[in-house]
């Protein structure tokens, strides 16, 4: 502390050295302690109860585009060995059959078209597998009806494959689903709260297909064009058979575990299932049983016809199962029917 001799009234007071150092060191510590800042913490995962879609719309479009590109390539090359990469279930069998028919006839049936654009995409929110995407395409270029595509991923380590395609009936009303940004929940084959579980609904429909109006479930199923067409077809064939003293029989059997269910926002389910049918035609009086349509002809090829012919069809049915308590009937909204095997027994 220094004191000037000539300043009696005011003391000259210089800051002691220690205090200066203390002040400076304090501020220095504050400055040097945090050079990079505090290390950020990973925010604790907020487990949200709302499920998120399994993929984005862009991802879904990319997947669908890859599938359709592969199918198109196989169509053009009329090769079926690559189909298994991106197709499975009834769609694979149907497409294989169609390509085989095209080998004979030269062109694929126009009903095999699948447009690339969609009018609605239903993306699942399931965390587990299998997962299914329901995509509804636009109408085809030649004004055919829309297609309902079911694209399924069976496990985490497999890719999405086209499992089923159904051509929608004219005027069919589809239930409502949430937008792809929200996603929809998939259903199971044993969903409750409906007029019938999906498995039962398919069984009832198969019974109605087989027995027509005489089926005990005829009241549960709404009338649709497939049933009408099938009834007409069956009637024609039956008349023809009767004239020749022949018999015919169609047996519809739902395929086991070949079913995809998506829950709609109104409580009902959209069910897509495979129904196998075997059509046995026996010509009477020693006649030959011939293929009934062009497809059968193409499939049958050059083989020798016998009196009995058995044709295996694969039917893909898309139906809406309404919720319990509503006064609606199980309604088929789309179908696909393709012979896949023909045998002359």
């Amino acid at each position: 502390m220094m004191r000037k001799a000539n300043t009696p009234r005011r003391m000259r007071y210089a800051l002691p050295a220690r205090m200066t150092v203390a002040i400076l060191s304090l501020t220095m510590i504050a400055g040097a302690a945090a050079c990079e800042g505090t290390i950020p913490e990973v925010p604790s995962a907020s487990s949200s109860t709302t499920a998120s879609p399994d993929m984005s719309e862009a991802q879904e479009k990319q997947i669908r585009t890859e599938i359709l590109d592969l199918i198109e390539k196989a169509n053009e090359s009329k090769q079926t060995d690559t189909l298994a990469q991106r197709m499975s279930g009834p769609a694979l069998q149907i497409r294989t059959s169609e390509i085989n028919i095209a080998k004979v006839t030269g062109n694929l049936n126009s009903t095999t078209q699948i447009p690339k654009d969609t009018t609605q995409v239903v993306i699942p929110t399931n965390t587990g597998w299998p997962r299914s995407i329901f995509a509804i395409t636009t109408t085809t270029s030649d004004q055919q009806s829309k297609r309902l595509m079911v694209i399924t991923q069976d496990s985490a380590r497999s890719n999405y494959k086209l499992w089923g395609v159904a051509r929608l009936f004219d005027g069919a009303q589809l239930p409502k689903f949430a937008v792809p940004q929200i996603g929809s929940q998939m259903g199971t084959a044993r969903d409750s709260g409906l007029v019938a579980s999906p498995t039962d609904a398919v069984a009832q429909y198969a019974d109605v297909l087989q027995n027509g109006s005489g089926s005990k479930y005829a009241e549960n199923i709404a009338s649709d064009s497939l049933r009408q067409k099938l009834e007409e077809l069956t009637q024609q064939v039956a008349e023809g058979m009767k004239r020749n003293n022949g018999t015919e029989e169609q047996v519809f059997t739902p395929a086991k575990d070949q079913i995809a269910v998506m829950r709609s926002t109104d409580g009902g389910d959209l069910v897509v299932a495979q129904i196998d049918s075997v059509w046995t035609r026996q010509a009477g009086e020693g006649r030959e049983s011939q293929p009934a349509n062009d497809a059968e002809v193409a499939l049958f090829g050059d083989r020798q016809a016998t009196s009995t012919m058995r044709v295996s069809y694969i039917n893909v049915l898309a139906m809406y199962v309404p919720p319990a308590g509503s006064n609606q009937k199980i309604t088929a909204v789309g179908a696909e029917r393709q012979p896949v095997k023909i045998e002359a027994l």
């Binding site: 002040i23 400076l24 501020t27 800042g37 965390t127 597998w129 985490a156």
Partner: protein, 479 residues
């Protein structure tokens, strides 16, 4: 040293320099933090993982430091170990969990420090769904982005929002290899430590300026007080003030201090404040500002001998009456300041001897006979005592002088007043507001009784109705 000077010295000499130094230090360290100690923009953290084929990041790790990250994976696997292809993919948490189900893997959980990623092993969960017809890692539909390479691979992820579910999955090819995972971020908003320090520096600079100028200035305001501070003489009187006066004086001092601060804003308030505070704060002023006040003239004629004598005798009623009325005068004369100047104008003139004699003559006539015996001074009042000395006066009274009246001169009054004060008589110097005879006190126990009587007689003109009181009390009750 005087308090105000000391305050200025402390403020200017100690506090202001301290604040100034702190301000300079803050600015210096702010500049250092902006240049040398600037937080780096590039953050690169790595982790070494071995014994697991799959490495996943926890949700939120990719966007931990910034919304864009570059993930680099290097494998030290040799060709002999089998697959050496290293792949990195981005996907949602549930997709990645589905892919590694049934496999034990390592989790990258965050940053342990700015250069190291923290990892944690995770046990196998769920069932292993791998089969022969599995799709290759690179071809899976699950990933939003995927990169593969031999021995090392780099993947960039951008636009990761915090809360995004995107996680990274690293496939090392086989579980024999040791993987080095590096995550590199470029911070767009590194922390800024300079600005708060600059702000602090400015704040302390302002404080330093304030301390050097304004806070050190307060004593100056006091210098402008009305100069009624008592001199050293009245300082002695301070010790004899009553407790009530002392408390009142302190309170007024506090309010005066607050008024002093307020006067910073409104200089005029100073003077008005002083005027109002004068009467009630005479004592405090004398004690606090004794040095600053100009000398004050004490007028012994202001003293109320009746009150002082009564109080000394323990006569509460009389003393209280005497005290109440001339209370203002008493305080003023004892402290001799404050509004005393105002009161001076109201001061009574000196009672002439003639008037006093006349009064005592009347008093003697009115006194009852028995009292007359005890107060032979009734006649002797006529012989107006002129001796200024205490001894002569007491002699006169001992001879039966009715009135112990001293020739009232300022000097004599002052002497007597001081003597009377030394006898610790509260309210020793009093002045009668009505201009009655002010009788100086005589501090002699032997003559007190007689003096009281005389004093009481002298107070006959008191307007408060002590006419009867002094007479009656003077004879019998004055003690």
């Amino acid at each position: 040293m005087r308090r105000h000077v000391r305050r200025a010295v402390v403020m200017r000499g100690i506090v202001a320099p301290i604040f100034g130094l702190i301000a300079v230090a803050c600015v210096v360290f702010g500049a250092l933090n902006a240049v040398v100690w600037k937080p780096s923009r590039d953050i690169s953290a790595r982790a070494q993982v071995s014994g697991a084929q799959y490495v996943t990041t926890d949700p939120g790790v990719l966007s931990l430091v910034d919304s864009s990250v570059r993930v680099t994976v290097e494998s030290d696997a040799s060709q002999a170990d089998g697959k050496t292809t290293v792949c990195v993919a981005l996907g949602s948490g549930k997709d990645v969990a589905g892919w590694v189900a049934g496999h034990a893997h390592e989790r990258i959980t965050g940053l342990s420090d700015w250069r190291t990623l923290s990892t944690q092993p995770a046990a196998a969960q769920g069932e292993d769904s791998s089969s022969d017809d599995d799709v290759a890692f690179k071809d899976s539909d699950l990933w939003t982005a995927v990169q593969c390479g031999e021995q090392s691979v780099t993947l960039r992820a951008a636009d990761l929002k915090s809360g995004n579910d995107t996680v990274a999955l690293i496939d090392g090819g086989n579980d024999q290899a040791s993987l080095t995972v590096t995550m590199h971020w470029v911070r767009q908003n590194p922390p800024d430590f300079a600005t708060p320090l600059y702000f602090l520096g400015g704040l302390f600079a302002v404080l330093a300026v304030l301390c050097a100028s304004v806070f050190a200035m307060e004593p100056q305001r006091r210098r402008k007080q009305t100069a009624e501070d008592s001199t050293g003489e009245t300082g002695q009187e301070q010790q004899e003030v009553a407790l009530g006066e002392a408390v009142a004086g302190s309170l007024s001092g506090v309010t005066k201090g607050i008024a002093g601060i307020g006067s910073l804003v409104n200089p005029k308030s100073r003077h008005t404040r002083h005027r109002h505070a004068g009467p009630g704060s005479a004592n405090h002023h004398a004690g606090a500002d004794a040095q600053d006040a100009a000398p004050v003239i004490i007028d012994p004629s202001r003293r109320n001998m009746l009150a002082s004598q009564s109080a000394a005798q323990g006569d509460a009623a009389v003393a209280q009456d005497a005290l109440d009325t001339p209370s203002i005068r008493r305080q003023e004369s004892s402290a001799g300041q404050g509004g005393a100047q105002v009161e001076e104008a109201v001061e009574t003139s000196v009672i002439s001897r003639q008037e006093l004699q006349d009064y005592f003559a009347r008093l003697a006539q009115e006194l009852p006979p028995d009292k007359e015996e005890t107060t032979p001074e009734g006649e002797s009042t006529a012989s107006a005592e002129e001796s200024p000395s205490e001894e002569s006066l007491s002699e006169h009274i001992s001879e039966g002088a009715a009135a112990a009246v001293s020739e009232i001169t300022p000097d004599a009054g002052g002497e007597r007043q001081s003597e009377s004060d030394s006898a610790t008589r509260p309210g020793a110097a009093e002045t009668d507001a009505d201009g009655d005879a002010v009788i100086s006190d005589v501090r002699s126990d032997t003559v007190q009784a007689q003096e009281d009587q005389a004093g009481e007689a002298g107070e006959a003109d008191d307007a408060t109705g002590n006419d009867d009181g002094p007479k009656a009390d003077g004879e019998g009750d004055s003690q």
